[in-house]
């Protein structure tokens, strides 16, 4: 079958070549569609349901919105879990679906349920699903600013409200249409609003209430269409515009009439252009600003879209009012391009090194080039495959590709063909005819195709465990394994089609066959060493075991990290203040912080989001801020070689100068992704579920105390759920009944008075602004004012206000009482936020574990909690956190890794036909690992999953090397040679191919190991492990393996070699 394919390829070589070119073209075209980002997207499949409930406190939000919405989401297909957060004015329910669920399917399900539940929600709340975006979605941020000398049309300075209006009504509508942008999120400035501020005294004088004002506003602000009439054959449309368009038109709205005199809004209220009660703000370099964020649609190419946004922003600049400019403060393109550059350099340099090595050893430039051609070919096919399987191109997925390993199969074929051609030429004593040449190539290819496929298969098999990872690790590394597998598959495909065809076309001239200087030198060193190793085989074996054990011990002592974090180039500085910090206070602190940080010479810009943006993708309270510190390009630093960690240290120190906040330093993408995956970010999370917040908090305190005493526990913390000062207006029902007031009347007035209530919209073309009725600032601004809010009393039966001027019954006109006489107003700390999970309130105690293994810690903690914490009925404890993932990953890998190794072993057994031989070959794996560990130790790189993947790749290569040597020795022995001689000869003969594969595979990774560009830190461990491991594996296969073989196969029974013989035979021609 395979041979037929090869024969066909050689016969139809031009067609194959054409197809190959086609594949490259297609791959190049597909590359346009390949989503490219810096890091893989590890966000889970989730739909956020954000409900805005203006004025609602956390308790009301939870009771009236979160609960019905959350309940409605129960039982959705493919639902993983729900969690929710109830804050001031905002309910966020996050519905997490099982991995692999189609996001649009999920959204549709959620949308249907939202429709159902809408009726149960209070009037006036807006339910919306979060944008179809991910943790990597915030690709572009800009600020809207006014130049210092800019003036508005009316000759004033641009206010934050003006800038916000420009953003909302000029910039945003245009940016939203950029393909690939799902949403523009805005924070900062003030939304323009029209405020009607009634004077309660005047209202009373006219015997009007707030409600009358609201009704009048609603009834006098509408356009109607009234159909059409026909007149003399013409059709006239009828319409009656009645919308208000300005402050003075609002003022002229008539509320009622008294004694024939109209009472207008202007008679009882002040009408002004005001600001909304905002939930968030933005600052840039210590000044308030308006910040826009472009969010990327899932699956789009972040770089292209960010570029489009930038281009559109430039176009929009022309339509902005004079003096208003936008400034780009964050552009993902920079990071992605820097990362791509790193990957590209690594790949290109790696490829160049591979070509050089091939040429050095093969000695034939055409053959070397043909082999090297497999690199771009398999890459373009891989790209097509990645587009097909929706794997995005990033550091991780492209980072593990080693061209050396990819071309292994092709190398074997090319080499064998060259040898056969040279042999044939020598036999014939001249150049071959085309026919002879083709036949030779066919024979040469067929002969080695099986071992070549076999080698590739082994490498592929060791990648299988990676595919079984789930969760965050899975999202990180599965694409990498998939990409490598696709690249290997493509390489196999091309080595059986393109490679023979290309050799047939291009390798036409004289093929020389001489051993070059390099190989001669290598042999001169190798021969005495090999003899020494075989003579002292016992010592060598013991030393090998010792080294393996030593490196195992060393590995267990090494520091570790999960995934080496990508250096994004910028710094995220989150400032966290105590719950209850007001937005204004937070702004002041943030401004001071920004001014301080800006003094650091490496800092270019510092901008911050405070609180919640228009679209609550990240619901923060005003006490929380996400700050982004943009660093200057290194060239502009006072000391361009200063390590970034020192700059971060300087930032940390500077931030400490501004008291009142806790700071967390991370990186923009990292911060955002962490927030989205959220749940519990610590090692161990103890979740206490129940109903009563106080009991939950009490239980959390007990748990915290129980955990704290356990050895290894650090950063033990209880989720901050309380501490938000809440002003409770507690109605006195007795007092109400005496005055004849209903609770809702008073509540309505409190609502209008303090928060304000929307009473329609004012239209200016497309732009629309809320008209809000609210009490004047002097009557709502502070605690005393709120206590004095006048509550109008219902009209008394014998009212005759006209007569009051001289009536004897004094004071009947004073028909209102202060709020304090019907309610008590007190400030008490209340819940800051209410978190729920799977429909139940929960509070989380988190802990990190240091210097102790997680499993035993959790067991001890569970014991301690069970003993010391007593929970009332209806309360229970759940255990979660990273340890869950760790446990599941551990379980999975402890099963899958041995299975994969067993599979490799089976493959070896199939090929060798002897368990002992297979085991011997297998012993190359631990020997190779020692080199990887040593390399990591030498470079001071901690263990990580990246390094782990390196070990996996290494195992494949090591097995292949061992196989090559052992198989050849077996073949020599079957020819009747004595053991030691067979080993010596076999090892010596196989020196060249082993060195070649080793050189190719390790040199291919050298650029990656040495790179310092953006993203290099993620690839460095992997490359380091492979290089170190291959060096040790090569040395050990060449010296230890023969020694071991002699040691253990002194007089073993012979079994018939099957495929191993093929391989050995094929390779024998290298001499």
């Amino acid at each position: 079958m395979i041979e037929r394919i090869i024969a066909f390829s050689i016969r139809q070589r031009w067609l194959v070549l054409l197809l190959a070119i086609g594949a490259v073209a297609y791959g190049t075209w597909d590359f346009q569609h390949l989503p490219i980002d810096a890091v893989p997207d590890i966000t889970n499949v989730q739909v956020q349901i954000n409900t805005r409930a203006p004025g609602y406190s956390p308790l009301e939000t939870e009771q009236q919105i979160t609960f019905p919405v959350e309940t409605a989401m129960g039982g959705l297909p493919k639902l993983d879990y729900t969690r929710s957060l109830s804050r001031y004015g905002l309910s966020q329910v996050t519905v997490v679906f099982k991995d692999g669920t189609d996001i649009y399917f999920a959204r549709q399900l959620v949308g249907e349920r939202i429709q159902q539940v809408k009726d149960q929600l209070p009037a006036g709340v807006e339910v919306a699903m979060g944008p179809v975006s991910t943790g990597l979605g915030e690709i572009f941020m800009y600020t809207v600013e006014a130049k210092p000398d800019a003036r508005t049309q009316s000759g004033k300075d641009f206010s934050p409200t003006d800038l916000r209006t420009v953003q909302d009504w000029i910039i945003k509508p245009q940016l939203r249409n950029v393909p690939g942008v799902i949403e523009i999120n805005t924070i900062g400035g003030f939304e323009r609003q029209f405020h009607v501020l009634p004077d309660p005294g005047k209202l009373m004088a006219y015997r009007l209430g707030f409600r009358d004002v609201m009704t009048a506003l609603a009834a006098n602000n509408a356009n109607v269409g009234a159909g059409y009439i026909e007149r003399n054959g013409e059709q006239y449309l009828v319409r009656s515009p009645g919308q208000v368009g300005s402050v003075s038109e609002i003022q002229d709205i008539v509320i009622g009439a008294r004694g024939g005199n109209p009472v207008r809004v202007r008679d009882v209220a002040e009408v002004i252009e005001g600001r909304d009660l905002r939930t968030g703000a933005a600052t840039l370099d210590g000044e308030e600003t308006v910040l826009g964020t472009a969010m990327l649609l899932i699956g789009e190419n972040s770089r292209t879209v960010a570029r489009r946004v930038a281009a559109r922003l430039e176009e929009i600049a022309k339509s902005l009012p004079d003096g208003v400019v936008t400034r780009t403060v964050y552009d993902r393109t920079h990071l992605v391009e820097a990362t791509i550059r790193t990957v590209q350099n690594n790949l290109l340099e790696g490829a160049a090194l591979v070509v050089a090595v091939l040429f050095l050893i093969l000695g034939n430039i055409r053959a070397a080039l043909v082999t090297a051609c497999v690199i771009p070919l398999s890459m373009s096919l891989t790209v097509t495959g990645m587009v097909g399987t929706k794997v995005s191109a990033n550091l991780m997925s492209l980072g593990a590709i080693d061209f050396g390993i990819i071309v292994d199969g092709a190398v074997i074929i090319v080499e064998n063909c060259l040898r056969m051609l040279a042999e044939a030429q020598r036999e014939k004593g001249g150049l071959l005819t085309t026919r002879e040449r083709l036949r030779t190539i066919l024979r040469g290819s067929s002969e080695v195709i099986k071992p070549s496929l076999f080698g590739t298969l082994i490498i592929a098999v060791v990648y299988l465990p990676v595919l079984t990872l789930t969760g965050v690790e899975g999202k990180m590394f599965t694409p990498m394994a998939l990409t490598v597998l696709m690249a290997l598959g493509a390489a196999v495909l091309f080595s059986i089609t393109f490679v023979p065809a290309a050799i047939a076309i291009f390798v036409t001239g004289k093929v020389s066959e001489t051993e070059n200087l390099f190989m001669r030198g290598a042999k001169r060193i190798y021969v005495p060493l090999l003899r020494l190793a075989i003579d002292n085989r016992g010592v060598v074996a013991c030393a090998a075991v010792a080294i393996v054990i030593a490196s195992g011990v060393a590995a267990s002592r090494m520091g570790g990290e999960f995934i080496p974090s990508l250096d994004e180039g910028d710094v995220a500085l989150a400032a966290i203040r105590i719950p209850g910090t007001s937005l204004t206070q937070s702004l002041d602190l943030q401004k001071a912080l920004e001014k301080r940080i800006r003094q650091i010479p490496e800092v270019k810009e510092f901008f911050t989001r405070i609180g919640t943006a228009e679209i609550a993708t990240d619901p923060m309270s005003p006490a929380q801020t996400d700050g982004y510190i943009m660093l200057k390009p290194r060239a502009e630093w006072p000391d361009p070689v200063k390590p970034k960690s020192e700059v971060i240290e300087a930032i940390d120190k500077a931030a400490d100068d501004i008291p009142g906040s806790n700071y967390e330093i991370s990186q923009p993408i990292q911060l955002r992704v962490n927030e989205l995956i959220s749940g519990v970010r610590s090692d161990v999370g103890i979740k206490i579920f129940g109903d009563d917040l106080d009991i939950l908090q009490g239980a959390a305190k007990q748990v915290e105390a129980a955990i704290r005493t356990i050895r290894g526990a650090t950063d033990v913390k209880t989720e901050q759920v309380s501490g938000l000062p809440i002003l409770t207006v507690k109605l006195d029902r007795h007092a109400l009944s005496r005055y004849g007031l209903s609770a809702s009347e008073v509540q309505g007035i409190v609502e209008i008075a303090v928060g304000g209530k929307s009473a329609g919209k004012l239209f200016e073309g497309d732009r629309r602004f809320d008209i809000v009725v609210r009490l004047p600032e002097r009557l709502r601004g502070n605690l005393d004012a709120i206590r004095a809010i006048p509550i109008p009393l219902p009209p008394s039966e014998e009212a005759a206000p006209v007569r009051t001027a001289f009536s004897t019954s004094a004071l009947t006109q004073m028909r209102y009482v202060p709020l304090s006489s019907v309610a008590t107003v007190e400030a008490t700390p209340g819940p800051n936020q209410i978190s729920r999970e799977n429909g139940k309130r929960r509070i989380v105690v988190t802990a990190n574990v240091r210097e102790r293994d997680l499993g035993s810690f959790v067991a001890e903690a569970q014991d301690a909690v069970a003993q010391k914490v007593k929970l009332p009925p209806g309360y229970w404890i759940g255990w979660g956190g990273q340890f869950e993932q760790l446990v599941s990953a551990t379980k999975r890998l402890t099963v899958v890794v041995p299975v994969a190794l067993l599979l490799v072993f089976l493959l070896l057994f199939m090929s060798m036909g002897s368990a002992a031989d297979a085991l011997l070959v297998f012993s190359g794996v631990p020997l190779a690992l020692t080199g990887g560990i040593a390399a990591l130790l030498l470079r001071g790189i901690p263990l990580s999953i990246s390094a782990g993947v390196g070990f996996i790749a290494l195992s494949g290569v090591a097995v292949l090397n061992g196989l090559v040597i052992i198989a050849f020795i077996e073949r020599l022995r079957s020819e009747g040679k004595p053991l030691v001689e067979a080993v010596r000869e076999g090892a010596l003969t196989r020196l060249r191919p082993v060195l070649m594969t080793a050189l190719v595979a390790s040199l291919g990774f050298v650029p990656m190991a040495l790179a310092t560009g953006a993203g290099a830190e993620v690839q460095r461990p992997l490359a380091t492990v492979v290089i170190g491991g291959i060096i040790s594996s090569t040395v050990l296969t060449l010296l230890v393996l023969p020694a071991l073989y002699v040691l253990f196969r002194r007089d073993g029974a012979r079994e018939t070699p099957t495929m191993g013989a093929d391989l050995a035979h094929a390779d024998s021609g290298e001499r």
């Binding site: 267990s556 570790g560 806790n662 650090t714 001289f806 551990t890 690992l929 999953i945």
Partner: protein, 324 residues
């Protein structure tokens, strides 16, 4: 062969173990390093003394950077005001309702609403039904006609006042005092009345405090009598009034912006030696918009955090702050 195989198997198993460990071990510590960020240990900067008072150490430089200012607790004079709503009324002691003595038909009307009259000015003449002779209706006092309930030819009854004459040279300002404020209002207290006509406040004094309350609104009446030479004050209009409470000297007072609550206690942040700040629980007395009297907890001369005291509170509580 047998032994060698066994040894090999043992070797491989050992190596598999090491391999597995190498793969899995890192995951254990990793998250701590990654997730912990640069978090500072919680609350290490807050210390408690034996009385349970919280203290933190914070330098002047830091305080200045956050806009925190210090002041010295000292004696102060508290002057506070209370606001009331009121209505202008004609001086009821100078309002006369002029009623015809005999019922009859109004033969002529001499004065209209708003006319100023002197005492004994002719208002109207009425033909008595009994005597069928006309008699004069005269103004009993000098003042202004503020109401007229009679027109020419109309039947005037002795049941119904035909004219109301009021002397508007003095005006009553009736203020409703809510009961919680009553204890702070005394006869003779100075009051500033604002007729809201853009011409400024008028000074007056409380001349009457009603001994009975108004059941409907649960208020009591306080009255200010104001002269009204130019007719600026018109009965029937609403006014607002500010009562200036008697100035009071207190021994220790702090600025109102210094008061914070911490764990349900009212506290003032007191500066101590060695860059320390103590959260000192205090007992508050009276206050005005600028100062609060401290009855206990703070001595005059102690330095306290006057402005931006929330920053200190935030610094004290920041160990608990959480980001999610």
């Amino acid at each position: 062969m047998k032994t060698s195989s066994t040894i090999l198997v043992a070797l491989i198993t050992a190596v598999l173990g090491a391999y597995g460990y190498a793969m899995l071990a890192p995951a254990k510590v990793e998250m701590t390093t990654e997730q912990a960020h640069e978090k500072k240990p919680a609350n290490e900067h807050v210390e408690q003394d034996e009385h349970g008072a919280d203290r933190i150490r914070i330098s002047d430089v830091k305080l200045a950077a956050a806009g925190v200012t210090l002041a010295e607790a000292a004696s102060a004079t508290l002057t506070d005001t209370l606001s009331f709503n009121g209505v202008l009324r004609a001086n009821q002691e100078a309002v006369v309702q002029v009623t015809p003595r005999f019922p009859g038909i109004a033969k002529s009307i001499r004065k209209r609403i708003g006319d100023t009259v002197a005492k004994d000015d002719l208002l109207a003449s009425i033909e008595s039904n009994q005597s069928l002779t006309a008699y004069d209706l005269k103004a009993p006092i000098g003042g202004t006609i503020i109401d007229r309930q009679i027109s020419l030819g109309e039947y005037a009854s002795e049941q119904k006042p035909a004219f109301v004459v009021a002397d508007l040279s003095t005006i009553w300002v009736d203020l409703s005092i809510y009961r919680q404020d009553l204890k702070r209002v005394h006869l003779g207290d100075e009051v500033l009345i604002d007729p809201d006509d853009g011409r400024g406040e008028i000074k007056g004094a409380i001349s009457y405090l009603a001994p009975v309350g108004v059941s409907e609104t649960q208020t009591a009446l306080a009255r200010v009598v104001l002269p009204n030479p130019e007719g600026r004050l018109r009965p029937g209009l609403f006014v607002t009034a500010r009562l200036i409470l008697a100035a009071r000297n207190v021994a220790v007072a702090v600025r109102t912006s210094a008061i914070q609550t911490l764990e349900n206690r009212t506290i003032v942040f007191v500066r101590e030696d060695n860059d320390k700040i103590e959260a000192r629980p205090v007992e508050l007395g009276e206050s005005d918009p600028r100062h609060v009297e401290i009855k206990a907890g703070l001595a005059a001369g102690e330095r306290y955090v006057a402005e931006n005291s929330f920053v200190v509170k935030a610094e004290m509580g920041k160990g608990d702050a959480d980001h999610d």
